[in-house]
Symmetry: C2
Subunit: 172 residues, 2 copies
């Protein structure tokens, strides 16, 4: 049962391309995820002030556990810039990356990672553990957090609450 | 410059489908990686005693930093069994998974991970850190290591040594 998303997309001015602008674009991807009945997480990749990739969580749609928003924008961004090393790319994602995606930020040499909501259980860039504290890894992305944090967290929290509510309704 | 691989594939009896047999199949994939001038890492996925997926590291060939052997077999295995949760799947990989792939084993709920050579710098299932020690993650694969360890390590060590040697030759 797909539950209608009660949130709307953001439409900030394209004249101010700051962290909030770019995170809004990631947020809009998260809303797209919800519309596909996926956990609402979205991501974009920025290179030289331009958005070169965008994606949302698509695990169920693609039946692929690796189809997180971040993984998809990494693959897309490498294709666009013609280099698998993303040192000059910034990735915006609505929630703190999971163990797989946090690791992918390192392995693909992403320059900057900006995330919205923290994840104290599964986030590996500060929430539950800090991969960037390991001394022997070969790349350390710059990490920024808290951009549109409340909006990004509310979107996910509401999704799970409405799913539980729908489940209760169905089993009554 | 592609350097010819001095190692040959293994051909164990299919009558004894033990860890060494399956790791040999992953090893053969690693040799394929070398033949494509990629760091020689290979992986296979096993479900009910059958190999349902196999892949080798293809970062340069595909220009995709996420195209590690493990990531590819996870995607393939989910397609084959028709479920993104791989609880009944065992993945064999010639080296300890990197941060991304270690995380992917958790996120895709892989039942058992068997690896060959340890990686004290980038391995996150024991070598440099143990993701499985985190208390809040939502899945804990069974981890086995050391199968064909010497062969798997020698393959990679030789690849890097010959690459350096070739580089020296070219710059002389």
């Amino acid at each position: 049962m797909i539950i209608e998303c009660p949130f709307t997309k953001k439409h900030p001015s394209i004249l101010h391309r700051d962290d909030e602008y770019f995170m809004s674009m990631a947020y809009n991807q998260a809303i797209e995820a919800w519309k596909h009945d996926e956990i609402p997480v979205g991501a974009i990749a920025v290179f030289g002030d331009e958005i070169i990739a965008s994606a949302h969580n698509s695990i169920i749609t693609l039946n692929d556990p690796t189809a997180h928003a971040e993984m998809q924008v990494i693959t897309q961004a490498a294709k666009i810039i013609g280099d698998w090393r993303l040192n000059d790319v910034t990735i915006y994602v609505t929630k703190e990356p999971c163990p797989m995606c946090s690791g992918a930020m390192i392995m693909s040499r992403v320059g900057v990672v900006v995330f919205g909501a923290m994840d104290s259980k599964m986030g590996l860039l500060g929430g539950c553990f800090r991969l960037q504290d390991l001394k022997t890894i070969n790349h350390y992305p710059v990490i920024k957090s808290g951009i549109l944090e409340k909006d990004c967290a509310l979107l996910m929290r509401t999704f799970f609450a409405m799913k539980r509510e729908g489940q209760r309704y169905l089993t009554q």
